[in-house]
Assembly symmetry: C2
Homo-oligomer: 284 residues x 2
Amino acid sequence: MINKDTKFLIVGLGLIGGSYAKGLHKNGYTVYALAHKQSDIDYALKEGFIDKGSAEVDKDLLKEADVIIVSLYPVKEVEWLKENQQYIRPGTLITDVCGIKSGVIDVIQDFLREDLEMIACHPMAGKEVYGVINSDEKIFEKANYIVVPTEKNTNEAIEDAKKIGEILNFANISTLSVEEHDNIIGFVSQLTHILAVTLMTCNEDEHLEKYTGDSFRDLTRIARINENMWTELFIMNKKALLEQITSFEDQLSLIKRLLIAEESEDLKEIFRKSTKRRALFDKK
Amino acid sequence: MINKDTKFLIVGLGLIGGSYAKGLHKNGYTVYALAHKQSDIDYALKEGFIDKGSAEVDKDLLKEADVIIVSLYPVKEVEWLKENQQYIRPGTLITDVCGIKSGVIDVIQDFLREDLEMIACHPMAGKEVYGVINSDEKIFEKANYIVVPTEKNTNEAIEDAKKIGEILNFANISTLSVEEHDNIIGFVSQLTHILAVTLMTCNEDEHLEKYTGDSFRDLTRIARINENMWTELFIMNKKALLEQITSFEDQLSLIKRLLIAEESEDLKEIFRKSTKRRALFDKK
């Protein structure tokens, strides 16, 4: 069980890994980190939000850690654990932060050593900029944290996973199955990014910037997109995402037909429904 | 020419009319208002941001005004001027605030008395709530103000229209032709509202609220939509809006095909373009 002496090892010191490190360290925990670049480790040590770190696979750090948080893109996450699970101390809890769960947690749990436990988590937080230099534990304050247990997980691991969300001060902590998670994420996160990118790239007029208002800015904030991470996430969640895109297309097509036919009353009915549904979100 | 003694009459005291009244009054101008409801006039008088007002068509106020700002929905704007131009003093400048120009300014200029001048303007500002009670001149501070002159307008009227934008402290003041205006608005304002509504109404799952993050909130802020005003605006700008919807659909369809085929490199290319284009907006 996580307690005040628990030592965390963050694997991958980017925006999210860095924000985890800062949040855990501020709350008094011992934090180690492994990163790809020595400069990221140097930065984190200089800023004082990790206690030790290495740009190599440091076997001592892997042995010392009580909880390992793998903060890599999904494909790398699977690869890293496959290569390095041999160095992890029996009984260590492993968790992650990636935005897609099928094709990741199921694959990992299949090859993971029997004396280790892996529990999937998804901190629904981010920024349009990345890298440890932009990390900030405050991005978690208004955000959702989802624990995604499978039948292979123990209650203790689920409680520990929730505890990490509490330490990091997430606004909401919930649990979902892998399938529920990937469907919901396909809608609320992946579809929204696809729409923002589509809007940003569907009109070639170079002079639109000066006529845009808040509406356009809001709808395209997330059109600044980390192309490598999101391409991987989209393709891994292809089935659910395609269903969401198709639902969106069908509804847009309906609105278009009503507009062509100038069916004012039907359009107003959709707009009233939209207003009513959106109002629910302001209460949360 | 507008000077410190210019008396403004606002016709229609809603969110925008009220914000105009507040902004003009704060800058020391005499402001009159006509409204549909006596309670709105009473509110504005009590709050002190109009000097006189009436819920009737007060012929004295119409005679006293030097500049009349019609702040009604487009269909009502045309009707109101048709009925009431007879009471307006010769030489009075008339302007408006509506979000669509073809079918409005051309129609009005056709029937308008020869001793009056009407110049179309579009303050690109708003809120998801409406009514004079929510009015606030600060909504103009970061917003665009577009003057939409036609061949029937004098240079003096164009300068006066710009002057109103300056008094109200808009961030950008520009001029566009009717056609340019309606095309650009079809994209940056109308398409964005259509997309927000579509996203808000394309998924019937009632439990999504608790899993949404900032992305979903940003993309649906404007899904709280004044159904009467926007239905009118959409239908009046049907041709341009349908073209914009179709461009969006084509681009979404391309992204969908690339996703189905798992064409990572082509997807990344679109995401890089999106990021690059969106970055331009942050500089403004």
